[in-house]
Symmetry: C2
């Protein structure tokens, strides 16, 4: 087994070659990696079957589903890689440029971060998404997946390395950490001088540990306690449609709505309709029904509601559960969000331009929606191709992280002997 | 004395009001703060005299000079504030915008970080620069200056608060930490939920401590081991002029050159000229002379040189000292810089477009110069007004930090009931 330090040394040595590659060469590599992935379908499925078999008793059904690969899913991973080919190369882009009166030319140019490390869990598509995004953005990637998905990740990385070699590139541009114990995660967090950016993708515990312990730069991703505020002026039909979508279209993801705030002037009319739409009607059509965790004011208005517990407004349910609170004003909604949100995505449903402007100005989250579902916060939906995660911090990148968010910049200054 | 926690609570409470202010209001506040500073000149000078008196025996001459204020320096601080009035407001700027085929409009908008904390040492102008930059970029600032400059900082902040009140703004937008012990610095590093960005400005020890200990987002600033590489094709006269400027125009600052790398093909002709220019000629005209710390190959070519010690290529001299090494190629220069640089500023002096392209592409520092002095790496020189420091990290901001670098962004998405 290669040690984590050996792998980091190889990654660091590889980064100079990658940052100088042309766009054409990187795009050729992405196409070759995608082809190699398809060609290795049998090997990848066999490795994945071993992972699934070994994990079946330890993991719940949802986790086993996340881990399991099919030919269609592998095809989807290859398509995700190919989608990056058409996106502009963030390396070398001129972000800003000016010539001073004395003739000194100052340009601000996009450049790779260097070595990007990703600590993630069981979803095999993260392996290929992360490697492809890193390659196109000029970075070497160091992948540290979960133990339960190691065989799958290894088979996927083997295929991608075959792709790299087929176009004459260094296979060290993609590195898979072989040690899947806690030690290798800690080593990555402390790899000052080797890791230029660490991105944890996974549960709240992993992310908290990384943010607290890391000595290398980290971007916090993922946790989403997303709010939808239904203003007094909201169109009730639109509000029902948006809330049903935000809550039920995929409750297990971070951009699903967890909390509904309703203005007091519309609560008595609206909340019974919400109960009917998300509970009664869905039950009648055989869909999973939503249960409600209600504050005092909303409890009597929602037949299927139960009283909210102390933590219900601070919980990412990731389930068919919606916390509901009645507020007296848009400012009270804003204050509730400031106190309870994780800074991911929030929405206002309203026809009042004043309330909309106030909400959009004051809510300090990565994505603020007006009359739309929070479910759009996603790299693909935002036009970034696949994504490296959704940043919930403010430093460097916010919201879905695509190619540009994996780069930094440098100033290039050209003179003719200029001195100060 | 107000506790650090009380001050942080007041800062957090103030940030909502600041992020919603108009550009006009913020500019009026800057003008009022500058006037108030001038009007308080006598009070500030009196407070500063007490600081200087108390420190004279503890601090060296350079530090006392940094600490000492004069009417002209206070005037300069006021001018620095006024210079920000004409710069574009980074808050509300549309960074990116597109409308999807389904009509959903996605905009990426500049917004403040929130509360910006600065830990700094004795230079009183940092107090006014940091407060002014924070205000214009929509942030509340929390200032934690050094103990030896506390009376000066307090007098400056008192004047700025008078300016804020005179235009009807909350004086809590500018906060000065009253506790100047190590405890308050630690409290800021750990103020999760209160501090959105921490910027340490000062010695290497302070910066290292912040980077290692901080639980809040930090930007690393300042240390500059800057290199000038003299290529085989360099114009020798230009190289002498640029090196004299980069080394001697202000040796105590972070953008001064510390290391000169010279191509072997030009070394025998060039290095004796460098010695003549930086030592002999300067001595003859009564200027401070440069001493050289030489590698083996350069030692015999530089009459005033001494053999370099083990650390001389890893030291920020901040003095009239230049380390010199002969390299065999531009690639050896690049490799030396990769191994020894702090990522601040590096220059190539060359007439060979191939060597220039290689150097500019491969050197991974905040500023890369072609035929110009490293001394230009500065917020004022780059057109950013005054600066909050020079970032030597890659995450978020790189190089001089002005108004935009004190902001983040959010996505604002507008629909008409759009669901996914």
């Amino acid at each position: 087994m290669k040690s984590t330090l050996e792998i980091l040394q190889a990654a660091k040595a590889a980064k100079a070659s990658l940052s100088l590659l042309t766009t054409e060469k990187k795009n050729a590599a992405l196409a070759a990696m995608a082809s190699a992935l398809i060609e290795a379908t049998d090997d990848i499925l066999a490795a994945n079957a071993q992972d699934v078999e070994a994990s079946r008793e330890k993991l719940g059904e949802v986790m086993v589903d996340r881990l399991t690969l099919t030919p269609a899913r592998i095809e989807g991973m290859a398509q995700g890689m190919c989608a990056l080919i058409d996106l502009p190369d963030p390396v070398g882009r001129v972000i800003d440029s000016h010539v001073r009166a004395d003739g000194l030319r100052i340009e601000k140019i996009g450049v790779p971060m260097g070595v990007v490390a990703i600590i993630y869990e069981s979803r095999p598509n993260v392996t290929s998404d992360a490697a492809a995004l890193s390659l196109k953005s000029g970075n070497v990637c160091v992948l540290r997946g979960g133990k339960e998905a190691y065989r799958s990740a290894h088979a996927i990385v083997t295929a991608m390395k075959t792709g790299l070699r087929s176009v004459g590139l260094d296979e060290n541009l993609i590195q898979l950490i072989e040690d899947t114990t806690r030690e290798s995660a800690t080593a990555l967090m402390e790899a000052v001088g080797y890791v230029d950016l660490l991105i944890p993708r996974g549960g709240a515990g992993l992310i908290r540990t990384c943010v607290e312990r890391a000595k290398v730069p980290v971007i916090q991703t993922g946790t989403g306690i997303c709010h939808v505020y239904v203003d007094a002026s909201a169109d009730a039909d639109m509000a029902l449609t948006v809330l049903e979508n935000a809550k039920t279209s995929r409750p297990s993801v971070c951009n699903a709505c967890e909390v509904c705030l309703v203005h007091k002037d519309i609560a008595a009319g609206f909340l019974p309709l919400l109960d009917e739409r998300l509970a009664t009607m869905r039950a009648e059509s055989g869909k999973p029904t939503v249960t409600f965790r209600c504050d005092e004011a909303s409890l009597s208005l929602i037949p299927h509601g139960t009283a909210a517990g102390e933590d219900d407004f601070d919980t990412e349910f990731l389930d068919y559960i919606l916390a509901v609170r009645v507020v007296r004003s848009v400012d009270e909604a804003i204050a509730h969000i400031a106190a309870h949100s994780t800074g991911h995505s929030e929405a206002i449903l309203s026809r009042d331009e004043g309330a909309i402007a106030r909400f959009v100005g004051a809510v300090d989250s990565a994505a603020v929606y007006v009359n739309a579902s929070t479910r759009f916060t996603d790299g693909g939906e935002f036009g970034l191709g696949c994504e490296m995660g959704i940043s919930t911090q403010k430093l460097h990148a916010r919201g879905p992280m695509g190619l540009c968010e994996l780069t930094t910049y440098k100033y290039v200054i050209r003179g003719e002997g200029h001195v100060r």
